[in-house]
């Protein structure tokens, strides 16, 4: 895990005068499952295409095993790609699609037969050898695309939103499958997605990107529990993000109250952003609450209720397993370890207030719904 396989050194790229990537620095280690996560247009696909050799950076260097590969064309790189729309060759059957890379390397036909068989077994495609790609379902095509890339035994596999076109159930299965394949082969995976849940459940390392910059690099737990700014906090999961002031170490003031927390290292009276996850707030009787507010909406979500509480004009989102009546007055209790303090950033004040929240808005801003496409490569 410690040797760096791919290093991006202050990579910048623009298309038609529009800056897509601004001085990206990223290390990808051997055998790591790295996910580039971000909203549409954040530059994640461009980053992947730069690693694959389909784009050349305007500035900066790409290093592979310590060697600069900026000018190496795709067919000479030890990486293979699983494309967003699979890009299977329509005139070849499954067997010939999978064997394509090996035939180019002039591998003997006997060995090809053995390795294709092995690959088709691993991806659960045994018996599909003679089928044309167009006769396969989306999930099967996806498997062919993965088999076709992995059979070349690349050092790195690049995956560009490979599960985007699959339905939810199939997506979950393929997530487990991919994770299993990655473990079994020990190949480094670089995975691009806009689905935060996918990123958190599969990755060793998550790279959160926005506006052509890397916002945060960390393990899924770090990213969720210790987001560096309001963007990351909002993009990964639900968050209440409040304006606050750090009075001293472990003392923060927000929502008109002083709270104990576990964070420190800020200047005295430094303005900060406070993140509180909806599931970390306890609903108590009004007289026992640290904060008191009125419930403005309750939504049943199956295993929990999602309630919006108005506290002095700021709308909090809270997830609780106990039913609360709409318009009831409730108290909120917040443990010190539920309070996460972040430095102010350019994203402060843009996210984390649920005052305009409605189911409809949720729908509009959820990238997994609808046909929104990653178009930052164009």
């Amino acid at each position: 895990m410690n040797n760096k396989l791919i290093e991006l050194r202050s990579i910048s790229k623009s298309f038609d005068g529009e800056q897509i990537l601004c001085a990206i620095d990223l290390d990808i280690h051997d055998k790591e499952f790295v996910t580039l996560l971000g909203p549409s247009g954040c530059g994640k696909t461009t980053t992947l295409r730069i690693i694959g050799g389909f784009e050349t950076p305007d500035m900066g260097d790409v290093l592979f095993d310590g060697v600069r590969i900026n000018d190496i064309p795709p067919h000479k790189r030890q990486v293979n790609t699983v494309f967003q729309k699979y890009a299977l060759f329509p005139h070849l059957n499954v067997y010939d699609n999978v064997a394509f890379g090996l035939r180019l390397q002039k591998v003997p036909e006997d060995e090809i037969r053995e390795r294709v068989r092995e690959m088709l077994v691993m991806t659960g495609l045994k018996g599909f050898e003679a089928r044309k790609p167009t006769t396969l379902s989306g999930g099967q095509q996806q498997r062919v695309a993965i088999a076709r890339a992995l059979i070349n035994r690349p050092r790195v596999l690049l995956l560009d939103e490979p599960l985007g076109a699959l339905d939810l159930k199939l997506r979950k299965d393929m997530q487990n499958e991919l994770k299993r394949i990655q473990k079994a082969t020990g190949i480094t995976f670089v995975y691009v997605t806009h689905d935060q849940e996918e990123a958190l459940s599969m990755s060793d390392t998550v790279v959160v990107m926005a506006d052509g910059k890397i916002q945060q690099i960390g393990t899924p737990t770090d990213i969720y529990n210790e987001p560096v700014n309001a963007f990351v906090a909002d993009f990964i999961g639900e968050s209440n993000i409040l304006d606050g002031v750090m009075l001293s170490d472990k003392k923060a003031r927000f929502a008109g109250q002083v709270f104990d927390c576990l964070d420190g290292g800020f200047a005295e009276n430094e303005p900060v952003d406070i993140v509180i996850r909806p599931e970390d707030v306890d609903v108590v009787a009004p007289e026992k609450g640290m904060l008191v507010g009125d419930v403005s909406s309750v939504t049943f979500k199956g295993d929990y209720y999602e309630i919006i509480v108005d506290i002095k004009g700021f709308k909090w989102m809270i997830e609780t397993s106990d039913y609360v009546a709409p318009a009831a007055r409730i108290g909120l209790y917040i443990e010190p370890d539920a309070i996460h303090v972040m430095k102010k950033s350019e994203y402060s004040g843009k996210f984390g207030d649920y005052s305009t929240f409605s189911e409809e808005m949720e729908h509009l801003s959820d990238p997994t719904i609808g046909t929104e496409e990653e178009d930052d490569a164009e």
Binding site: P74, N80, T81, Q84, A87, R148, A149
Partner: protein
């Protein structure tokens, strides 16, 4: 009303095919008459195949159609490739229109201008009698070219560009990716362009009339020269042969694709 709409189709077919049918029927007429069918015979076919001049014209026509269609297909396919790869939208549009103009240009204008060009070039190099086989070949290749481009270019446009990237990703050089992945996708367009060029060359009269010489006659020119005096009945036989050839080619083009599909399906089933 319903009867009218049903008969409409047959009226159109009759108008389109009655003359051709008449010609085919009378090419088998024993006696040399258009007014009465006196008996079925291959007499006129026999006569045609004994006519040395006609056979030479047939040979010239086939050579010209084959050579010019192959040339036009090769040049046209690469022209379409170049057009497809052009970055600048305005230049691309302009070049596209320029290649399309010859198709709308009246044949007579194309014919006259080509003759002028050939004669002028001959004058520069001090040659006389430049018109003949080679000027015919150049002319036929030239006027078929836009049709080939027209049938190949959409195939390039439809081609999924990520397939090219996938091929490169799997280790193809750019040239290999063209031949292994892109060419198979455009072959149907190339083939229909080839057949179109072949038939265009086979039945061209107007342009050929201007750029040919008496010692290199194609079938249309020969037929025209014959009918100038009196209509020989062997010409009916010849025209019938041409119709059958064209029909066969059309059937091949229309069914080639579906036969290929069926063969694939059968191969899959047998595995």
């Amino acid at each position: 009303m319903k009867a009218l709409s049903r008969s409409y189709l047959w009226i159109i077919f009759a108008l389109l095919y009655a003359p051709i049918l008449l010609l085919v029927v009378f090419s088998f007429n024993e006696g040399g008459s258009l007014s009465s069918f006196t008996g079925f015979s291959f007499r006129w076919y026999g006569e045609f195949f004994r006519d040395q001049v006609a056979l030479q014209a047939l040979k010239n026509s086939l050579f010209l159609a084959l050579a010019s269609s192959l040339l036009a297909t090769a040049i046209g396919t690469f022209a379409a490739l170049g057009l497809d790869r052009m970055r600048n939208r305005y230049v691309k549009g302009a070049v596209n229109s320029v290649t399309n103009i010859p198709m709308m240009n009246p044949d007579i204008v194309t014919g006259v201008s080509m003759m002028l060009l050939f004669v002028a070039v001959a004058g520069v190099f001090g040659l006389s009698d430049i018109l003949g086989k080679w000027t015919m070949l150049i002319a036929h290749t030239t006027f078929s070219l836009p049709y080939v481009i027209l049938s190949v270019l959409p195939r390039f446009k439809q081609f999924d560009k990520t397939l090219r990237e996938a091929a490169l990703d799997l280790g193809c050089t750019p040239a290999q990716s063209f031949f292994k992945v892109e060419l198979p996708a455009i072959v149907p367009g190339v083939f229909s362009g080839l057949v179109m060029a072949f038939t265009l060359s086979l039945d061209d009269f107007v342009i050929s009339h201007f750029v040919s010489s008496p010692d290199f006659q194609t079938l249309p020119l020969y037929i025209y020269n014959q009918t100038a005096h009196e209509v020989k009945y062997s010409m009916y036989a010849l025209c019938t042969l041409i119709i059958v050839t064209i029909l066969a080619l059309l059937l091949i083009v229309n069914f080639a694709g579906s036969i290929g599909d069926r063969r694939n399906r059968r191969r899959e089933a047998s595995k």
